[in-house]
């Protein structure tokens, strides 16, 4: 199948990835989205814009991030070599900055003085506040009240960076509700406001634009593999919340049919318990937040409250490109439980001296599972999407430790 499909041909002009994607928004947003699409498609091919973005990624974000062979972890697992793409080493501590640096430059070119963002784990909020501070733009971040509680450090970081953090108390008070509220803000303030969506969800052109800005991860990794190992990895893995770090790693490899791709979703307390956020593994096609994709909802079409130990994966939808990759069979999506992620977190900390974000720990757990079943000369390349500093309190609380 991957022989027939050229994955670079997606999305189409309507933002569709096969049956998924599109622009399912209220009429009021159609014009601003058209304006954004037009601006972005122009800038995407503008050498000056590309040069400015490359400069920022290099000097401000700290790219390229290395790929790192986790030798002691691999040895401990006793299977294939596990390599990490070190997005945790980026400025602000996660892949999220790749996207916000890019979108902030688009906002600047479009002359929008005010930035809004939604955030779950707070990483995207921090990354948005960061670029807003740097460009002198006003920044408002919407965050679910539940997430504010479990990601206090990031809330304070955003405030230190000059952003206003608005608690969202509707619905499940998590990421999906923060996204609703940010959309409501945008529809009300379209004239002067740029909405930086933090993942490859939302209406067209966001899934395309956010993917493009994160695709640097896979482009670098692919070149680094060829340069340092003389070959491509056998399998890629990454955690999937909305799916931005995952598509960021996967995209440059989609047309490499021999490279297997596995996304790790949050299985929470186990998919069978219903307390999870595995939209692809356990959901069904539906429409949420401006696009058609896999969603977790009941038979009345009401979106479910989800559960994951990691706020950044606690989302009942997923980027439409992943829905497409699942349906055409190019990628597999599997669940990793809270417990498995925690175990991987500790193992990585003790064998490699790396504290991974809880989101990324899901990918680490999946990398371990994959490596275990593979021969020693195999290579698993895992996206280490972020660092775990923000999660120290959550982990301590879960383990009954006072800090």
């Amino acid at each position: 199948m991957s022989k027939i499909v050229d994955f670079n041909a997606f999305p189409d002009a309507y933002g569709r990835f096969g049956n998924y994607g599109g622009s399912y928004v209220a009429e009021t947003l159609m014009a601003p989205l058209a304006e954004l699409t037009e601006a972005y498609l122009r800038l995407r091919d503008d050498p000056e814009f590309i040069a400015e973005l490359d400069r920022d990624l290099k000097h401000y974000v700290g790219r390229p991030s290395p790929i790192y062979h986790a030798e002691r972890l691999s040895q401990h697992v006793g299977g294939a070599r596990i390599l990490f793409k070190r997005e945790d080493l980026n400025h602000t501590g996660a892949h999220k900055i790749n996207n916000t640096v890019g979108q902030a430059l688009v906002a600047k070119r479009m002359g929008k003085p005010r930035i809004i963002a939604e955030t779950g784990a707070g990483q995207h909020g921090v990354a948005s506040a960061t670029v807003a501070a740097r460009l002198g733009l006003k920044c408002v971040v919407y965050m679910g009240a539940v997430d504010i509680e479990r990601q206090k450090i990031n809330v304070y970081r955003m405030k230190l960076l000059g952003a206003e953090v608005v608690p969202v108390t509707s619905g499940s008070k998590t990421l999906k509700d923060a996204l609703n509220e940010a959309m409501r803000d945008w529809v009300t303030n379209v004239a002067d406001t740029f909405y930086i969506i933090g993942t490859v969800a939302g209406p067209h052109p966001y899934p395309l634009m956010v993917r493009d800005f994160n695709a640097i991860v896979g482009r670098e990794a692919r070149a680094q593999m060829l340069e340092q190992y003389g070959r491509l990895p056998d399998v890629l893995t990454a955690c999937v919340g909305g799916g931005s770090n995952a598509i960021g790693l996967f995209h440059a490899f989609l047309n490499d049919a021999d490279v297997r791709i596995v996304g790790a979703e949050a299985a929470g307390e186990g998919i069978a318990t219903g307390h999870h956020a595995a939209s692809l593994a356990a959901g069904r096609p539906g429409v949420l937040h401006g696009n058609r994709t896999y969603v977790l909802c009941d038979d009345n079409g009401q979106i479910n409250e989800t559960h994951s130990i990691s706020a950044g994966l606690d989302y009942p939808g997923v980027g439409p490109e992943h829905a497409f990759l699942k349906d055409v069979g190019r990628a597999d999506y599997v669940g990793v439980t809270d417990d498995e992620a925690m175990e991987a977190f500790h193992l990585l900390a003790r064998t490699e001296g790396i504290l991974a974000a809880l989101e990324s720990s899901h990918a680490v757990a999946q990398a371990i599972k994959l490596a275990r079943e593979m021969p020693k000369d195999g290579i698993v390349l895992c996206n280490l999407s972020g660092r775990g500093d923000k999660d120290v309190h959550t982990i301590a609380a879960r383990e009954g430790v006072e800090v």
């Binding site: 399912y24 209220a26 009429e27 009021t28 159609m30 014009a31 509700d177 529809v187 038979d299």
Partner: protein, 266 residues
């Protein structure tokens, strides 16, 4: 002619401005939903917009968000809503009913199944907020079954697109009076009069204006240049907490009667 077309033709013939109340289905009380619908008609409603509750109402302000949350908590879904429409139709065969809401509940119900059940129940049109013209191909089964798709037009709608919306309009074209969410209150009639007049002269269907209309004064201000006015959040807010059919009826009367009178005095 559809029930919606018949109703607008009658309004036009009598030089009246249509009154379209919006209520969230299942709020304030699932048991008294049919009574509420009849009360709306008795108080002067020309068409009823029935909001299908959705967990993630991106285009709605707090009033309708909370009404939806209350209804969902009581187990209200499309099956219940269609049941109420069918029950309402036993006594009222004329008042058009438009279901307003978001796409996911319809998608999950199944487009073909929804189309058949909705027509059978007596629904006349659908206004799916997050389904713009570009994505409307999925609604084909609904239109084939005879449901009219009510389109939205907004202050941000560009001229070329407005022409397209005017050309595709059926039932009525719903003009959103300002860029924002439901329930926000900043109606500036001066700005929109010319705009609505222009749309009205080109649209293939009558034009209703909604968002920001909360009372007799604001309704009257719009009546001068629209075929109908839509009143949602202010009514939903007024009904919240009413527990029995009589209280609901009294509140509906108290709220809508002055608005009806203002429209008719126009």
């Amino acid at each position: 002619m559809s029930r919606i077309d018949v109703r607008f033709a009658a309004l036009k013939a009598t030089h009246r401005t249509g009154l379209i109340p919006f209520v969230t289905a299942g709020d304030p009380s699932p048991q008294h939903m049919v009574a509420l619908m009849h009360a709306l008609v008795d108080a002067g409603a020309d068409l009823i917009e029935l909001g299908v509750p959705f967990s993630d109402p991106m285009a709605d302000g707090p009033v309708i968000q909370h009404a939806s949350e209350r209804a969902i908590a009581k187990g209200v879904g499309l099956n219940e809503v269609l049941g109420w429409v069918a029950a309402f139709r036993q006594r009222d065969a004329e008042t058009p009913i438009v279901l307003m809401g978001y796409l996911n509940p319809v998608e999950i119900h199944g487009y073909a199944r929804f189309a058949q059940e909705a027509v059978q129940a007596g629904v006349d049109g659908v206004l799916l907020v997050d389904c713009p013209l570009e994505e409307s191909a999925v609604l084909r089964p609904l239109r084939d079954a005879g449901l009219q798709q009510i389109l939205l037009a907004a202050p941000t709608t560009a001229p070329a697109r407005m022409a397209q919306l005017c050309g595709s309009a059926e039932g009525f074209l719903y003009y959103v009076s300002f860029a924002g969410i439901t329930g926000a209150a900043h109606l500036s009639t001066g700005d929109i009069a010319a705009r609505v007049a222009d749309i009205r002269s080109r649209a293939k269907a009558p034009v209703a204006v909604g968002f920001g209309i909360r009372d007799a004064a604001s309704a009257k201000a719009i009546a001068g240049f629209a075929d109908a006015v839509v009143i949602g959040s202010a009514l939903v807010e007024r009904l919240a907490g009413a527990t029995d059919a009589e209280e609901i009826t009294v509140r509906v009367q108290a709220f809508l009667a002055p608005i009806r009178a203002a429209l008719d005095a126009h």
